[in-house]
Amino acid sequence: MSPSKNEATPLVKRGLAEMLKGGVIMDVVNVEQAKIAEDSGAVAVMALERVPADIRAQGGVARMSDPDMIEDIMKAVSIPVMAKARIGHFVEAQVLQSLKVDYIDESEVLSPADYVNHIDKWKFDVPFVCGATNLGEALRRISEGAAMIRSKGEAGTGDVSEATKHIRTILGEINSLSAKSEDELYVAAKELQAPYDLVREVARTKKLPVVLFVAGGVATPADAAMMMQMGADGVFVGSGIFKSGDPVKRAAAIVKAVAAFNDPAVIAESSRGLGEAMVGINVSDLPAPHRLSERGW
């Protein structure tokens, strides 16, 4: 007996992200990389034409990927496939939904299509993940319908410092919110520039209402485990795997380190003999206009 099937409810959208917890989501640009990701134990892949390090190096406008390429990857793997739309580009999101991707990332890694509005994500049946650098930004995205949040970090750098800053900021702000009394939450909502109801929910539950992953600059098993120890639900690794010397080994090593994030002996073991990490750029050397984390608001 199933009197009614309710699809695309907030629970169903957020539910898939709950299943990804404790896992690694890997950026892949072709079928071969997608298969490596699945074989190494990734919980999902992000299909895109250029990893952030290449977008950064090549410059120009970065857009949604070719549907052929996304569909090839969807056919090649059985794990969930995510794909990126530009911030505010609701038609790219419509296209991705029509392809039946499992999640859409409204991503600052691509060039924004709208410098004022993000996509109204409630209008879609496919769930969205969005980036955030602080709690207010995370809650604004959730109020627009995001079903999963990833802290932004600074994509394509291999420098984990921004990822650290953003996850610490978000979790720190949740902590201080939960220490406030009820009557202080109205002003807290004003200061966070976020809806009062969401602010109150976070204060009560001491967590975001959706899953929180970390992204942007994670390059090693130790980076990934550090994000988990700080309280991330899981990790996105973009350029860090397929821009490194031995992607097969590094992908498996990061999966292992995330699963055993509290065990330094396992992290040591998975850090051995990985070859070269991605070259990396120090975020402090990046001129402000080139910092992706400042896209979105």
Partner: protein, 189 residues
Amino acid sequence: MRVGVFALQGDVREHLLILSKLGVDTLEVRNATALNEIDSLILPGGESTTMSKLIDIFDLRKPLQEFIVSGKPVFGTCAGMIMLASNVVDSAAGQQSLNAMDISVQRNAFGSQLDSFEATVSFAGQDAKVAFIRAPKVLEAGDGVEVLSKLEDGSIVAVRQKNLLATAFHPELTGDSSVHSYFLGMAQS
């Protein structure tokens, strides 16, 4: 009585929340030692290919299979059902189940995330509010397997074989604790 939740990957927290709501002592199971400290085990929802890899990476296949054979109750939800099945018809390369229940399952049997849904199902004669997220289906169940829930279209979505319980759906996401209560009943009897 203490219930373990296999905690290398997946929606561990949701299972722990329901168990603690039911007043049960819980333990996150990350290694073989923890299996000696629990009376029953839940394999949560998650990504079954990932779980399969992690079970081998951390040498947990044999200890888990021994736990299952010992007759202690084990409950798998979604990915956990896939892990318990003897046959996974569309397994990914290198994916291996624990080969414990006489069932054949198909992964992502309803389609993509767009086909995920919430529903009230009849489970062991009682209504339960559950969620199907990129859910599997049981294609075939052996003689010793009791079917506990079917959808209107006949799809088998919950089964029991002796000490083993498996659901294609997530009873842990909706706040409905009836399926967990059923499992605790198995553990007590």
